[in-house]
């Protein structure tokens, strides 16, 4: 696993030096390279703007041969994120059959952010929210904002 540690170190270094847009990345604990804490600012121009989302990235021991596990630690109102405390994300890139070892955490995080800009209601985890997104956008936006207000306000 030495090779994988090396790769993770490298990726982490890259992400900390030049973080993806709207994110700050840090290790959950200095001694464990496999758990990353990411703070994502809701992308401007979306109903998520203003929200601050905490995302956890867990890299399996087999990383990069196996996909990392990415969860929203902050509750979020989104068709592709489970509306519970687990915050599982449905992201094609992370599906085991689609995961390629040459994919990087950075690309994953960018994809997560892109999911907030452009939800994918065709492959939802929350069908009700997906329907609302497709059919009643104002209501959806309102709900997103109320979730932002309730859960995703930056703690000062």
């Amino acid at each position: 696993m030495a090779a994988s540690q090396k790769r993770i170190t490298k990726e982490l270094q890259e992400c900390m030096d030049l973080p993806p847009a709207g994110m700050t990345i840090s290790l959950a604990s200095d001694s464990d390279l496999s758990k990353w804490d990411v703070v994502l600012a809701g992308p401007p121009g979306t109903p998520y703007a203003g929200g601050v989302y905490s995302i956890t990235v867990t890299l399996p021991a087999e990383y990069p041969f196996k996909a990392p596990q990415v969860n929203f630690a902050t509750r979020i109102y989104h068709p592709n994120v489970t509306n519970d405390s687990l915050g599982n994300i449905c992201l094609g890139l992370l599906k085991p059959e689609n995961w390629k070892p040459a994919s990087r955490v950075r690309a994953v995080l960018e994809a997560v952010r892109q999911l907030l800009v452009e939800p994918n209601p065709e492959d939802p985890l929350e069908t009700r929210i997906a329907d609302e997104y497709k059919n009643n956008r104002p209501e959806f936006d309102k709900n997103v904002k109320s979730y932002v207000a309730r859960y995703a306000k930056a703690s000062k």
Partner: protein
Amino acid sequence: MDEDPRDIELSTITAIYPELQLDENDPHRLSIELPVSLSKPLTVLFPAVAGAAPLAPAQTAPVVTAAADVDSQALSNLPALQVNITLPNGYPQDKPPNVSISTSPPWLSNDIIRRLETEVVRLWEEIGRDQVIFTYIDDLQRSSDDVFGLVDSKGTLEVTPDHKIALLDYDINAKRKAFEKETFDCGICLDPKKGSVCHKMLDCGHVFCIQCLQDFYNNAITEGDVAAVTCLTPNCAKEREKNAIEESSLKQRKPRTFINPSELLQIPLEQEMVKRYVMLKHKIKLESDKNTAYCPRSWCQGAARSKRHKKPEGFEVVDSDEEEDEDTGLLAICEDCGFAFCTRCDQGWHGEFNYCIPKDRKDAVTEEEKASLEYLRLHSTPCPTCAAPCQKSHGYPSNPYKHFNTQPSGDQNSCYMRLWELEGGDGDDVGIDYEGGDAMRNANVAAGQYGEHLEIVQPRAAQQGQGEPRNEAPPAPVPHREPEAPQPAQPQQPRPERVAVAREGPLVLRIEGGAPAVRDQREGGAHEAGAANPRAPPIANQRGNGGRRGGHRGNRQARGGAEINQHNNRNRGQGAARANNNDARVRQAQVGRNGPQNPDLNPQQEAWIRQFVQLALNDEEDLVEWDSDDD
């Protein structure tokens, strides 16, 4: 300025071209290898050898023609020019350098080489007879970009096919050398790696370090995740698919995304691992095909041999996408253990015609099948040799039992007369005339006796007279050679209690065996008559009202076993008298057989029988004098 200007020039040149080599023996002799590397791949055509035949290979080399069927390859590297330069005494003021150029293989024509060699003189004159080596080498290098003017307007170059292999080899080696010198960032470990420890994916050209590829593929194959054995670049397959669609809309097939086993060996992966990969791929294909049958042997469970999914041999993955329907016969043969089984019932192969119940519903037999099975049980008998259910039905000449009725000739038809061999019988009239039938039940009769005697009613009657109860198992006929039989070779007669039907079989037998060409039905009738008529003279009197004509007709009526069996029904419109007549005859025959009277024929009767049989054989029984009827 005592120094030789040649030495000054050479020291300069060697500084510019470190690959330049000086001759150890002659300090003014140098050689340099100039690679012909092209900035972008050049289409090289190798026209068929036949077209170049009249010219010597060296001269034919790059002649630009448009040939119809040519082999073309895109090459980036052509074999290098080996340039040898000698600087003579008096160079550079008085003499130009001597240059000789060669290539290995000699893919450049002599003309071109001579032109390149003399170029140095022109340059030397052009710069005013001065130091020309650098200028010349530089000029050669530049002119190699368009392969010394040999590339035609279409951007192709023609080379004699003699050098094809060498040129391809050179190109591959040059590319590999260039690749090995390069440095790549492996997308997996993210480390920069020398090309020599990297592998470039053959299909897509992505580069990874060998260590990472080995780790990943070994892991995937060990875990059985064969689908992961593809290029490791995200979306690689998708993008290639997109490109393929853009490039040619005609091609509907998806580009191959899985990695060929031979490439895995190149990376290299362990042979065992690649074997497992091939095996797993085969298994996945079989599993994805719902038609695949598996060997029912619990220790084997191999797949049935299939044309569509051939079992891989070695490292070859047979990738046949043919969607043609396979023959969906029931027979399957395990590709591992060779067991032949039925795909419907999963039992060992039982032949094409045997009825079996599908394995997936052993208990649930549909109404239709139930009816079928019941019918088969009641009305059919399996052929003893091929198990095909057979049903006996009447209907000569379109006889469905030909199979059992045809005498064996040569090596064919071992089922002759064996239709009811394993059967208790479906009536009293079966199994009379061959050894497996009644003879089996009458073990006291030696085999082979049947064919040796002519047996007619009277001897039987005598036998019956010895006290054998009529209704017991049919008594064995006593071998009996009729001394006055008109034809000694005449085959056996049936036992008389079979009435007419029984007598017909042996007659058919005899005819098929090559006896005189008389129609069997008539023959049957004749014998019938012959058997029945011995008592005709005495009967006639008892009948009383039976006129001669009636008696005659009655005999005719008796022709054919079936007719006499159904005597009452078959007297269509012939009048009650004749029906009675028939009845009377049959009764009479039984009386004759059963009764203790009538112990033997009188000589007159015997003579009558002989005459009748003789006439019957000639199909002239109508001419028999029915004098007794007239009495």
